[in-house]
């Protein structure tokens, strides 16, 4: 079956080969495993970019294939990051606390240890009690489960309510924006239990690997991100091909027709919405240990809008388009906003790209929408057609 699937979807094979080649290249150029041409922080940037590509692929499935313009998928990405961040922070703080208590004459009681950890983590928001949502934070396994379960459940409940009431189009987009805004505002509160606007930090320190250098950790996370992107791509390529793909594209193009064919459209939308939310969360769980910090600003409504812009620029309705869009725009964005782009002196005014990048992005988005509705990925269509 795999053979025929690859044979019918040659772009999947091309993509996986390109990803493998890229991974190999970065591995050979990195500090830990290669000739140290790429700095550790750049390897982290690349690894994070792969995670962004993964959520972009998910976004493409929900929007480009199923026609649901969700402007809230970054909420799931962030929740995934928070879920893994809780374990990272807890376990890391536990190590530090145990070290500092080790010198005492009497061994510390579990209560003392727990209080000390609570103090360390929540002192910044004036508390030392563990909120109930941290109940599983000491278990990596349970917290990994939360990476999938919490965003999955949120998507399931939200989607069920929204799709059952037949909320579609721009109303659904607004609703998803409201969801991510509400979540972000909630997390900004100090008593949300996730350290308010401080967020979770120190996530780049992996408990149990205190002696491992960041160079090694960065390349391992890069590999993990590449693997996740490869598997996610394969998974979604499988979903959007075949009959499932027919039905969800049908929902995008003519929902009523699909309904009168006897398909329960709401179940399909819910399926696609939830499965893409879960994959977004996995992408987030890989992203934030590389970023080192997560705070509620990450899931502000604008983040999900960027996601839609990446997919639109890359080309909707083609998975590789989403990858190209996310990689291209997010790397370009860090180049422009990181001060990499030279300022443009106009005599009377100097264009500082840190300020003007968003304007440029906005214009590019408008231009792509008007002149290249198929995005960058659409250029491949022309290549293929020329060959044929």
């Amino acid at each position: 079956m795999r053979n025929s699937f690859i044979a019918q979807n040659p772009s999947v094979l091309w993509f996986l080969m390109a990803l493998a080649g890229f991974t190999l290249g970065v591995t050979l150029l990195s500090e830990a495993t290669g000739i140290a041409f790429l700095s550790t922080s750049f390897v982290k940037t690349l690894g994070k970019t792969l995670c962004l590509c993964l959520i972009a692929v998910a976004m493409d499935v929900v929007w480009g294939y199923c026609g649901i313009l969700s402007l809230g998928h970054f909420a799931f990405f962030g929740l995934g990051g928070y879920a893994i961040g809780m374990w990272l922070m807890y376990a890391r703080t536990e190590v530090i606390v145990l070290e500092s208590l080790a010198g005492q004459a009497l061994p510390a009681t579990p209560k003392e240890v727990s209080d000390a950890i609570g103090n360390q983590i929540f002192g910044v928001v004036g508390s030392s009690e563990f909120p109930w949502i941290w109940a599983f934070a000491d278990s990596l396994f349970l917290q990994l489960l939360m990476v999938v379960l919490v965003p999955g459940l949120l998507a399931l409940v939200f989607g069920w309510l929204a799709f059952r009431s037949r909320v579609t189009g721009v109303y659904l987009s607004i609703l998803t924006q409201a969801m991510t805004l509400a979540l972000s505002l909630y997390l900004f509160q100090n008593d949300s239990g996730l350290r308010g606007n401080n967020g979770l930090s120190g996530l780049q320190n992996i408990p149990g690997f205190e002696d491992t250098s960041q160079a090694v950790i960065s390349i391992v996370f890069f590999w993990a991100s590449a693997l996740a992107l490869g598997l996610g791509y394969l998974f979604f390529a499988w979903i959007v091909s075949g009959k499932m793909g027919s039905v969800i594209k049908g929902i995008r193009d003519n929902e009523a027709r699909v309904r009168f064919l006897g398909y329960h459209v709401e179940s399909y939308k819910l399926f696609v919405f939830t499965i893409t939310a879960v994959v977004s969360a996995i992408a987030g769980a890989l992203y934030y240990p590389q970023a080192g910090i997560i705070n509620p600003g990450e899931i502000a409504p604008i983040a999900s809008i960027y996601l839609a812009v990446w997919v639109a620029i890359g080309g909707r309705g083609r998975l590789y388009g989403a990858v190209i869009g996310a990689a291209f725009v997010s790397l370009l964005s860090s180049w422009f906003t990181g001060g990499g782009a030279p300022s443009v002196p106009l005599g009377f005014y100097t264009i500082q790209w840190t300020d003007w990048w968003l304007v440029l992005l906005g214009f590019s988005f408008v231009a792509v929408t008007l002149f290249f509705p198929k995005g960058i990925g659409g250029l491949f269509d022309r290549l293929v057609r020329k060959q044929a």
């Binding site: 009523a256 309904r259 009168f260 006897g262």
Partner: protein, 249 residues
């Protein structure tokens, strides 16, 4: 012949406008029926009610030998019960191939997981080819539906309905925008289909109805005005007054 669908005493009001007014109509197991009537007579609303898109204010819609009420059911449930609907404008999935369009419509389990795990089988392929043959698109299976001519799209949509294996087929103005030859072929397809199931055609065009050569129901202001053969209803004075009168006077 036993009754397949019985609509009785149905009324529906939109913003004070009574689109359907105490409508009662029934269809037998395998029959071809034409519903005619002037604009605003409630033809499309009638279809909306039967297919679950519109909920009536009062009345009953009873289906099949087990006398199931269709009123509480969703569109997809009603479709699964065996009622297929063709829209006025041809609605096929334009960026998918003819084969994909038919495959989607083919009667098979409709749940997301069975669809996800769906595998192409020879039986399904044979069913698709048989339907394509019936609608005259056998050599077009690989084409993208968007490339088809208007008439071919209409047939594809009828083919998709047949693929659902419905017991009742509701067809809204199938001949609109068709050439004379296309109309003839459409008539043939519908008459063939009506041998094994009930086919209800809503039509504006009297010539087309004449060619269908079947029992005719005339709707007017949301209820049945007359019923019988085309000759019978066209000789009815009220029908002439409200509908034909304008053209034939």
């Amino acid at each position: 012949m036993s009754t397949l669908l019985e609509v009785s005493g149905v009324s529906v009001t939109f913003d004070g406008f009574r689109a359907i007014n105490n409508l009662s109509i029934q269809f037998a197991e395998a029959e071809l029926r034409a519903i005619i009537g002037p604009n605003g007579a409630g033809k499309t609303t009638f279809m909306d009610i039967v297919t679950g898109k519109t909920k009536p204010d009062e009345g009953t819609v009873v289906w099949g030998e087990r006398n199931i009420s269709l009123l509480g059911m969703s569109e997809s449930q009603i479709a699964m019960e065996g009622i297929g609907r063709k829209f006025q404008k041809p609605t096929v999935f334009e960026d998918q191939t003819v084969r994909q369009n038919l495959a989607m419509a083919l009667k098979n389990p409709r749940g997301p997981f069975s669809v996800l795990m769906h595998k192409k089988t020879k039986t399904n392929a044979a069913r698709i080819e048989a339907i394509a043959e019936q609608i005259g698109l056998a050599d077009q299976l690989r084409r993208t539906a968007g490339e088809l001519s208007h008439g071919q799209k209409q047939w594809l949509e009828i083919g998709m309905l047949l693929a659902q294996e419905p017991r009742l087929l509701l067809v809204d103005e199938p001949a609109a925008g068709m050439t004379v030859e296309e109309r003839e072929k459409t008539t043939d397809i519908l008459r063939e289909a009506a041998k094994t199931r009930a086919v209800v055609v809503v039509e504006h065009d009297m010539e087309f109805v004449r060619r269908l050569d079947c029992k005719v129901t005339v709707l007017h202001e949301g209820s049945v005005l007359a019923e019988g053969s085309l000759n019978h209803v066209t000789s009815n004075q009220t029908v002439i007054d409200v509908y034909l009168g304008r053209g034939h006077a």
